[in-house]
């Protein structure tokens, strides 16, 4: 089932369906490349020396995500426990909220 | 070794020494004899020793019996111990009578007047009661 063409879905859903594909990624890459190239065209008024390094921000952002993903992975490996770890003292171990509970709340 | 003082001390107080000996004999009998009648005898000996002690205390050398004679120079013995002991003799007789009466009762009850035998019987009764 392709969400992009599924006419039973609302128009916004179909639009979002397009984003879900490869297109978004390549659009982003295109925008990113353009923005990165602008570093060479535009001279910013940096306060810190290292800001002047070309592609500093782009690289820093990408590196941040990588660091975060890796750190998250390590934390997950170290600290992940079952949902019942604290049961019955937490809501994590409880079943999904039933419809009437949600309405009541 | 009897020098002048000590010999006179012992001799002059001979009555007290006699009292002490007599009293100890009585005490010894009370403590050591199991026979109740003998105990009473010991008690009486002890008692007599006490009487004699008091009477000796009251004796004044050269004194007469404390009966008024009309002579102002007359020396009398101290009347108080005598009176006291007169009473004590009466009490002593009564005590002895009571003691002997009790011994008769004990003899009837236990069939013996030996103290250790009585104690044995008592213990036997206790044991039976508690069992």
């Amino acid at each position: 089932m392709n969400a992009k063409t599924d006419t039973s879905l609302p128009a916004i859903a179909r639009l979002l369906g397009r984003l879900d594909g490869r297109m978004l990624f390549w659009l982003l890459v295109l925008a990113g490349v353009l923005l990165a190239l602008s570093d060479f065209a535009y001279h910013r008024h940096e306060i810190f020396d290292f800001e002047a390094v070309p592609l500093f921000y782009a690289g820093f952002a990408a590196a941040s995500v990588l660091v975060l993903v890796l750190a998250g992975g390590i934390f997950r490996a170290l600290f992940k426990r079952g949902e019942n770890f604290y049961a019955p003292f937490s809501t994590d171990s409880e079943p999904p909220l039933k419809a009437q509970e949600r309405d009541h709340a | 070794m009897f020098d002048d003082f000590s010999s006179s001390f012992i001799i002059q107080h001979y009555n007290y020494w006699m009292v002490i000996v007599l009293m100890m004999v009585g005490l010894y009998i009370v403590v050591s004899r199991g026979n109740l009648v003998k105990k009473i005898v010991g008690l009486n000996l002890f008692q007599t020793a006490v009487f004699m002690l008091y009477i000796s205390v009251g004796k004044i050398i050269g004194g007469t019996a404390p009966i008024l004679t009309g002579n102002p120079d007359e020396v009398y013995s101290n009347p108080l111990p005598h009176v006291l002991i007169l009473t004590a003799i009466v009490v002593g007789v009564a005590t002895t009578a009571l003691g002997l009466a009790l011994i008769v009762r004990i003899n009837e009850r236990y069939g013996t007047i030996e103290e250790d035998e009585i104690a044995d019987i008592e213990q036997e009764i206790d044991r039976q009661e508690s069992a």
Binding site: L9, Y57, S64, S90 | -
Partner: protein, 570 residues
């Protein structure tokens, strides 16, 4: 201006009136009117001290109005309006009343001019808010609420202890700038720090927020933490240690947010991270930085509410907010998905409020020339966009369609939720579009232009490469949809370790007590028994002794007495 009714009391009065109103639209309308009336009142306030009152010989200030309190008062009222609109469908009186009390307390605390008044409202926020968690009505929510409440009240009692010490030392109860140094001021800082979720004091936040009701979490996310930020800005502006505390706050929660499964908990951690931004700015303490604090609080309340609303809508419709059970939801909840994406963008994209406020904070840190802190903030900006702006919407709404085989697809969120989210998004947008108006509200009169080419370019680069990195890593399989399970945070220390220690202590003391009382009883019994043995009917001292030995003993006794009396007379 004595004709102005204190806005906090508007909420509280409304909370008292509310239960007698009939349930339904009338009540919901009344609820919506309350924050609007309050906002209107606050709008009309002019700076100065109004409404002082006497309590036990203390001259207290109910309303101390300046630009800082007005900003917080306004955003609190407005956010309360949005949250109540979002909760239009809720019929539960308890939640309605406590929401009003909670908002009223927070606004009251913001306008408090002295510590006693602050304390009253401070505890008010603690007690009122816990009902939003308990209202979920499950065993787990009950325990979570108790933990939350104890920590919140701990903050209150530490505050009152700090107040007492501070008062003892200085004789002043004014809620103003403090210099860290004495025990009292440290206690006050810690009290604020608990509500501001300082590292290691933060566990209540990711613990409690995901446990509340869908609507309750939105309300919770608005007040408590921002009230703490306000208090820090009021009392501890320029305190250096806050810079380092804030830096840790930027990092630690972010890692958890990047790894969590429960998306509302992801948002709670993200919120904690954003508090770090504000704490750093408070630590910098320059007028520019404090403007940044106020601006970021406003922007952050709006976009974080929006994200919590979106996740609340997902929870409301699907029954879960866990990434492991979600995916592909854009098919059935497209508007929610779109608004969620807007919420993510609102955090730092130009044209949105978050961009302005973040630029303020970053600039203030740069001006203070703190390169490491600045880099940390940059990392935080990229990271927060990754966890809340990209990863979260993607996990919830895109990817594998988890509801493909379900008998019934989840429906789009109800109209009131959509409307509330739409309004929130619009306000983010409006503030971002009109930075000058935004700036004019801030406490200090500092000229600042967020929309320089530098800032825009920088921010766009950061955002686009963050997104690119996410999608690239997703393709390479380095980022995956998380499996069910929870992450143990430092809450393990109190929920497991401390509990175990307490249990061990209880076990030891119970047994020690038992042993002691048993020993004592045994001793006593033995003592009584020995007395009984000696003197009881069978006892040797009660038996009849032979007369002979009696006499002997009496003689011995008499002799002994003689010796004693003679030796005494000698």
């Amino acid at each position: 201006m004595p004709d102005i009714f204190p806005p906090a009391l508007i909420f509280i009065a409304a909370a008292i009136v509310l239960p007698v109103l009939p349930k339904g639209n009338l009540r919901a309308l009344f609820l919506l009117a309350v924050p609007l009336v309050a906002a209107h009142e606050i709008w009309q306030l002019s700076e100065g001290v109004t409404h002082t009152y006497e309590l036990l010989g203390y001259s207290l200030t109910l309303m101390r109005v300046d630009q800082l309190s007005i900003v917080f008062g306004l955003i609190f009222s407005f956010a309360a309006f949005l949250a109540l609109l979002y909760a239009w469908h809720v019929k539960d009186t308890v939640q309605q009343v406590t929401t009003l009390l909670y908002a009223g307390s927070a606004i009251g605390a913001v306008f408090a001019g002295d510590f006693v008044t602050l304390f009253i409202f401070w505890e008010g926020t603690a007690v009122a808010s816990v009902f939003l968690i308990w209202a979920r009505g499950t065993e787990g929510a009950y325990y979570t609420g108790m933990r939350y409440l104890i920590i919140q009240i701990a903050s209150g009692v530490i505050l009152v202890a700090g107040m007492a010490l501070h008062y003892h030392e200085t004789g002043s109860l004014a809620f103003g700038a403090l210099t860290l140094g004495s025990l009292g001021t440290w206690a006050i800082l810690i009290a604020f720090g608990i509500k501001a979720a300082f590292p290691l004091l933060h566990t209540w936040l990711p613990d409690a927020y995901p446990a509340a009701t869908p609507t309750g979490t939105v309300v919770l996310s608005i007040f408590t933490t921002k009230l703490a930020i306000y208090s820090l800005a009021r009392s501890f502006a320029g305190t250096e240690i806050l810079i380092y505390i804030g830096t840790v706050m930027v990092f630690w929660p972010l890692i958890y947010a990047a790894a969590e499964n429960d998306l509302r908990r992801v948002l709670a951690y993200a919120l904690n991270n954003q508090l770090g931004f504000m704490v750093i700015a408070v630590g910098i303490g320059t007028p520019l930085a404090l403007n940044g604090v106020a601006a970021h609080a406003v922007a952050h309340i709006l976009y974080k509410s929006l994200l919590f609303m979106a996740m609340g809508a997902v929870l409301y419709r699907t029954g879960t907010a866990k990434a492991s059970g979600l995916g592909g939801l854009y098919r059935s909840m497209p508007i929610t998905a779109l608004l969620c994406i807007v919420g993510g963008l609102a955090m730092s994209t130009p044209l949105f409020a978050g961009f302005v406020s973040k630029s303020l904070i970053l600039s203030s840190v740069a001006k203070a020339y703190e390169p490491l802190i600045w880099a940390a903030l940059l990392f935080g900006s990229a990271g927060i966009f990754y966890v809340a702006g990209v990863r979260l919407p993607y996990l919830a709404f895109f990817g594998e369609d988890k509801f493909a085989g379900a008998p019934e697809r989840p429906k789009e969120a109800p109209w009131n939720m959509l409307l509330a989210m739409g309004l929130t998004a619009a306000s983010c947008f409006a503030l971002g579009l009109m930075p000058a108006t935004f700036m004019s509200f801030l406490p200090y009169d500092v000229a600042y232009d967020a929309y320089t080419p530098d800032h825009i370019l920088t921010q766009l680069q950061v955002l686009s490469f963050t997104a690119i990195a996410f999608f690239a890593l997703w393709r390479f399989g380095l980022i995956k949809r998380p499996a069910p399970g929870i992450l143990v945070d430092s809450d393990w220390l109190n929920r497991r370790l401390a509990l175990a220690i307490v249990k061990l202590g209880a076990y030891i003391s119970r047994n020690m007590w038992g042993l002691m009382s048993r020993t004592a009883t045994r001793r006593l019994d033995a003592f009584l028994a020995s007395i009984y043995r000696a003197h009881g009917p069978q006892g040797p001292l009660a038996r009849s002794w032979p007369a002979g030995s009696m006499v002997l003993w009496i003689a011995v006794l008499l002799g002994f007495t003689l010796i004693l009396s003679f030796s005494q007379s000698l």
